[in-house]
């Protein structure tokens, strides 16, 4: 390869992680730093936007410096700065966006705005080269989407949640089971010890739809717990966790399989924080036997949760496609993919 290597610095501050990373050629992590605020938000039972923004200001230059130090690079050696411009918490996004603009301005290097979900999808490219067309199942605290990609940089949302995101349903059910925040990992752990013996609904929606709905399931869990309590019965939380998880996972996996077959994709990518869920990973691997010619890519846990390497990876592709942001780049909390 005679082409020059491309180094992109990614910055991600859309929620409660202040993150920066340097990625080479969109595929190789040179440095990846994530400062999590999770502990700080735990006492509030969820992310408090104003507190998240305050932490980001405290952390931003520290995280940038640590990234440059680990990469043993100078900002002048970078080919571009890629930053999450949305969606997310606006006050939080603003810190990353303005830091990125200041860096790009100071060193006169290109600036690229990246959609957070595009980042999650491109986390997979840090593990395995993408093969198009592909289908990405994006599941996180804020998102549940099936994204079809015909080629690099082209995203078509073919299915999305009509109410709660899967991760949101996990957190709400965890609260009903009196598990600590964030609830997802606790339910996943409990589910392994229980049996899916409680009858809960699956929202398939209308024939051929790849959309999701989790609010009915969440309500069913809460009602079932409430009714059992009134009758003086005790349900094993392990069984409830297992039954809830089985319902979520079954719908997610089945719709993914149907869409993959319908679109004739070569790869299925799992993306987003809920991709860390053991139950989902296992079931997806199991069902992939139905599509032997399709490759399943699941990034390691550290790349499933919010990080900046994924933003740098997506930013590299956008940079190569000629996408540039100006100094007027803004945070957009409801940015569309």
């Amino acid at each position: 390869m005679s082409e020059k290597d491309i180094f992109v610095l990614g910055i991600e501050t859309s929620c409660d992680e202040t993150a920066a990373a340097i990625v080479k050629n969109g595929r190789e992590i040179i440095a990846n730093v994530v400062a999590s605020q999770m502990e700080s938000h735990q006492r509030f039972g969820g992310v408090v936007p104003e507190i998240a923004s305050r932490h980001h200001v405290e952390q931003i230059t520290l995280v940038l410096e640590e990234t440059m130090r680990r990469a043993n690079m100078d900002v002048n050696e970078l080919d571009a700065i890629a930053v999450t411009e949305g969606p997310g918490l606006v006050g939080a996004l603003l810190i990353g966006v303005n830091a990125a603009k200041a860096l790009a301005f100071a060193h006169r290097i290109p600036l690229v705005g990246v959609h957070h979900i595009a980042g999650h999808i491109y986390a997979n490219r840090l593990v395995q080269e993408m093969k198009f067309p592909l289908l990405a199942l994006v599941v996180s605290g804020g998102h549940t989407e099936l994204v079809y990609m015909k080629e690099h940089g082209m995203f078509e949302v073919i299915g999305e949640t009509r109410d709660d995101a899967a991760g949101e349903a996990y957190d709400k059910v965890a609260r009903a089971l009196q598990l600590p925040y964030p609830g997802g990992p606790h339910i996943d752990r409990l589910a392994k010890e229980g049996k899916p013996i409680i009858d809960l609904p699956r929202a398939w929606l209308e024939e051929g739809s790849y959309d999701f709905s989790f609010s009915g399931l969440k309500s069913a869990v809460i009602n079932t717990l409430h009714n059992a309590k009134q009758r003086g019965e005790t349900l094993r939380p392990e069984d409830m966790a297992a039954s809830f998880q089985a319902s979520v996972v079954e719908v997610l996996v089945e719709k993914t399989m149907q869409a993959a077959a319908h679109y004739g994709v070569k790869q299925i990518l799992l993306a987003g924080g809920v991709a860390a869920n053991e139950g989902l990973r296992t079931q997806l691997r199991e069902q992939m036997k139905r599509l032997p010619e399709v490759e399943l890519v699941i990034p390691p846990l550290s790349l499933c949760t919010d990080n900046a390497a994924m933003i740098a990876a997506a930013g590299t592709v956008l940079l190569q496609q000629g996408k540039r942001a100006s100094m007027a780049l803004n945070a957009n909390p409801s940015l569309l993919l």
Binding site: R54, T61, I95, A99, A102, A106, A328
Partner: protein
């Protein structure tokens, strides 16, 4: 020394480039527009007008609050990142002090103020003397009516300054009578060149640990602390 000053703590956006004893350029707007979209383009165009490259900047002075949380954070984030990446000094100056500096030739006490909702104001007390100002009472958030009462203890003339003066001047005039004046409206926008001037001879901050002076805790934090307090009292 070439100084870049940034103030985004209220609706007023102020950017100044000061070179030694010369104010080379200033951009000041008082518009209900988004700072995030406008600040970096303003810095870019002002430096360009001044034929200055970012790498020539030797010091950044930023208004560190109080003010709009989001507004202050935008200015502080840009200032911290620029200072860190350019390897230059960073100075944080009170946004109220910068506002009071517009009245530094007043003989008496200067009360800069910003509306903080529900009858409250961000304010402080500064003494103006011979073109200098000095903090007498630290920046705080207080009910405008309470602050007017506290100011009765001072028997020097008082000047209110800041765009939100009109919202609260009645409380002060009622309580303090003729001892209080409101600055001309042309002095209300804080001047970023005054901010640069204030930051010129101060000790630099530690860039990494530098944060805005919000004055107030985040609401969730305050509520949480109050609950902890209740817990210990039981």
């Amino acid at each position: 020394m070439k100084v870049l000053a940034i103030d985004t703590s209220t609706f007023v956006m102020g950017i100044a480039v000061v070179d030694g004893q010369v104010v080379k350029g200033e951009i000041i707007t008082n518009l209900k527009k988004n700072h995030s979209i406008r600040v970096m383009p303003a810095i870019e165009s002002l430096l360009q007008e001044c034929d200055m490259s970012p790498k020539e900047i030797e010091r950044i002075v930023v208004a560190k609050g109080p003010g709009s949380y989001t507004g202050v954070r935008i200015g502080v984030t840009i200032a911290k990142t620029l200072a860190w990446t350019l390897g230059i000094s960073l100075i944080g100056v009170s946004s109220l002090e910068a506002m009071a500096a517009s009245a530094k030739y007043f003989q008496g006490l200067v009360v800069p103020l910003m509306d903080a909702r529900r009858g409250q104001i961000y304010t402080g007390l500064y003494k103006a003397e011979g073109g200098n100002i000095q903090s007498i009472v630290a920046d705080q958030v207080i009910l405008a009516t309470d602050w007017a009462n506290e100011l009765k203890a001072y028997d020097e003339p008082i000047l209110l300054v800041g765009n939100d003066s009109s919202l609260h001047e009645a409380s002060f005039i009622q309580t303090l009578n003729r001892a209080v004046q409101v600055a001309s409206f042309t002095l209300h926008n804080p001047r970023p060149s005054e901010l640069a001037w204030l930051g010129m001879h101060r000790e630099p901050e530690d860039i990494h640990t530098f944060v805005p002076n919000y004055i107030r805790l985040a609401e969730a934090e305050a509520n949480w602390l109050a609950r902890q307090q209740e817990g210990t009292e039981c």
